[in-house]
Amino acid sequence: DFVEALRAVVGAPNVSTATAVREQHGHDESMHPCAPPDVVVWPQAVGQVQELAALCHRCRVPMVPFGTGTGLEGGVNAVQGGVCFDLSRMDAIAELSLEDFSVTVEPGVTRKALNKHLRGTGLWFPVDPGADASLCGMAATGASGTNAVRYGTMRPNVLNLRVVLPDGRLLHTAGPGRQPRKRAAGYDLTSLFVGSEGTLGFLTQATLRLHPLPEATAVTIASFPSVGAAVACTVQVLQAAVPVARIEFLDEVMADACSRFSGMGLPVAATLLLELHGSQRSLAEQQQQTEEIVRQNGGSGLAWAEGQEEREQLWSMRHNAWYAALALRPGCQGYSTDVCVPISRLPEVVVETKQDLQASNITGPMVGHVGDGNFHCILIFNSQDPEEAQRIHAFTQRLGRRALAAGGTCTGEHGVGLGKRALLQEELGPEGLDTLRSIKAALDPHNLMNPGKVL
């Protein structure tokens, strides 16, 4: 019996076929309907992951990796059933090196847990996608966040990955026990597995690049007369080589929603939330440069928050954007779009998207990592209303294509998952897709790793 064989590897308490447990592992934070696996297992060590994978491979059973279930594209939905590998019990933090600025973490370690562990060392891991996600999960989806404009996304911050391949073999993408800050040794396997969304293997350990904590931080909010003005301000701040740490955009609907939800009293206008990092002296210089550029673009309301509590207050207002948007239409569901375009095309894409929202009668406040040209429409709709659901679906397809037409991508940070496979084809073209398929076939010829996703 297959389930008995699973129990023999990890022990009976670490295998479950209970309905509630399987349903909990069959969905993430996206709108895709729950697709429960047939069984959930909790391996405690990488050797067990290998044994389980080899077993599933022999019996041709699909395998789905699971971290924190906080993804946004249905990456953990077991659309072909199979075994869900819940890796959260493997939670070791090891090999912290303060001189090499690196640390290795297993899938059970979340980004907040790592930063808490690093407290007192003067280092931090800056990639912040919002949710308290598993770091290996963030590597699997190529996550990004508000800090990417200065510190990069997951890709440049993952130095090595310990991968269990679909047949159970163990692969270290940069070689076992290595974390050089740069390397030119062969094809970049680390980068291949980052963003592979569980379709090429299990990421059972990641070696991450750490950064020094800034000495001083300042945050400000500025309101602009138009979206164009806010984006122009962003471009100029970047062109002035101000090493801005975060630059977030809220359209007037989002600014109003956030302001009301958090009781902040912001003007209802296109808004930028900026954060600067540096030494005390360099911060003062950055602040001066930023103020000048903001004023030149008609921005107003600039007041710097430097104390820990005030900064936390401003950012939690932004982080609560999801809930603030949901509060606009209580009882409805939310869906976050995710396109990324060259910054030069951002104003026109945003303006067209807003016109589309109005024409389609959709509630969709916008929030964006403007420094990267990446923005999200948080669409609030009644999923029980088939007509509305259809309008939403059509809108997201148009938005994806609009971004592609502007030279961008249909997904800046959330991944392809279940819902964007068709758009991926349009984005990469037939040769691109064929190359991806060749790689997939080479590593997972029986299509057992998270089938139905990405390709």
């Binding site: 847990a113 808490k116 562990h117 407290r119 007192g120 060392t121 003067g122 280092l123 931090w124 020094p212 904590l213 800034p214 000495e215 030494s279 820990q308 509590e309 936390e312």
Partner: protein, 238 residues
């Protein structure tokens, strides 16, 4: 005053002789003491900040956060470090150094006693403002807002005084690398606890037993109300 507690992310285990296993367990700054230290750093125009700790390891973090100098009170191997011992050591140090204000965390997260600040104030015969959520210095006095069961209470205490910090007093800063490097040069004095009057005798508190909670038993489905009542009676619940 900075106290130490085992880091909360580590699995807590009962040691063979009773008590909690602490060998090789990573220790960190007690969160409430961290808040007290942060408040002291913010009030620093009032003068030097001295931190005192019983076991060591994270005094350098306190220095990196902004304390000016540190004193490590070294206990004899295996000696008790409960509220009475800490308060005694602090009282001795206070007599020597004559500070105007002593800030402590309201309680340590390993024993949750919530006694050290109060014992210290009694030993020194100083006024105390415990569970502080807001602190404001005035000339010769301190205005303290305290979180009490009925709401918020504001006291004006003549200096010198003892205050204990509660969660909402502030958000402590992270130590940055430049400050960690500067902290290496700040003075750290080691004093044997006996010199601070901490008696080497047997502890006044005896821990009778420490045990883990019973392992979780599986649930059971019953077919009828009678069956449910029978099982509850059998388990002595009704």
């Amino acid at each position: 005053v900075a106290d130490l507690a085992p880091m909360s992310v580590w699995a807590v285990r009962v040691a063979p002789g009773g008590g909690v296993h602490t060998q090789g367990v990573k220790h960190s700054l007690n969160p409430f003491c961290e808040i007290a230290l942060e408040e002291a750093v913010r009030l620093r125009e009032a003068g030097d900040i001295l931190t005192l700790s019983l076991p060591q390891e994270t005094l350098r973090t306190a220095l990196a956060m902004g304390a000016d100098r540190a004193v490590l009170a070294e206990l004899a191997e295996g000696a008790a470090a409960g509220p009475r011992e800490v308060a005694t050591a602090l009282a001795a140090l206070v007599q020597k150094l004559q500070p105007q204000l002593v800030l402590l965390g309201k309680q340590a997260i390993d024993d949750d006693c919530n006694q050290t600040g109060q014992l210290l104030a009694a030993m020194l015969d100083w006024p105390q403002g415990t569970f502080a959520s807001r602190v404001q210095l005035e000339a010769g006095a301190v205005l303290v807002e305290r979180e009490v069961d009925g709401g918020l209470e504001t006291l004006r205490l003549r200096l010198p005084a003892v205050l204990t910090a509660d969660l909402r007093l502030n958000e402590p800063r992270y130590a940055t690398l430049p400050n960690i490097m500067k902290a290496k040069k700040k003075p750290l004095e080691v004093l044997p606890a006996a010199e601070l009057g901490v008696a080497a005798g047997p502890p006044r508190l005896k821990v009778l037993q420490v045990r883990e909670p019973p392992p979780r038993a599986g649930g059971e489905r019953v077919e009828s109300v009678e069956s449910l009542l029978g099982k509850l009676r059998h388990a002595g619940r009704i």
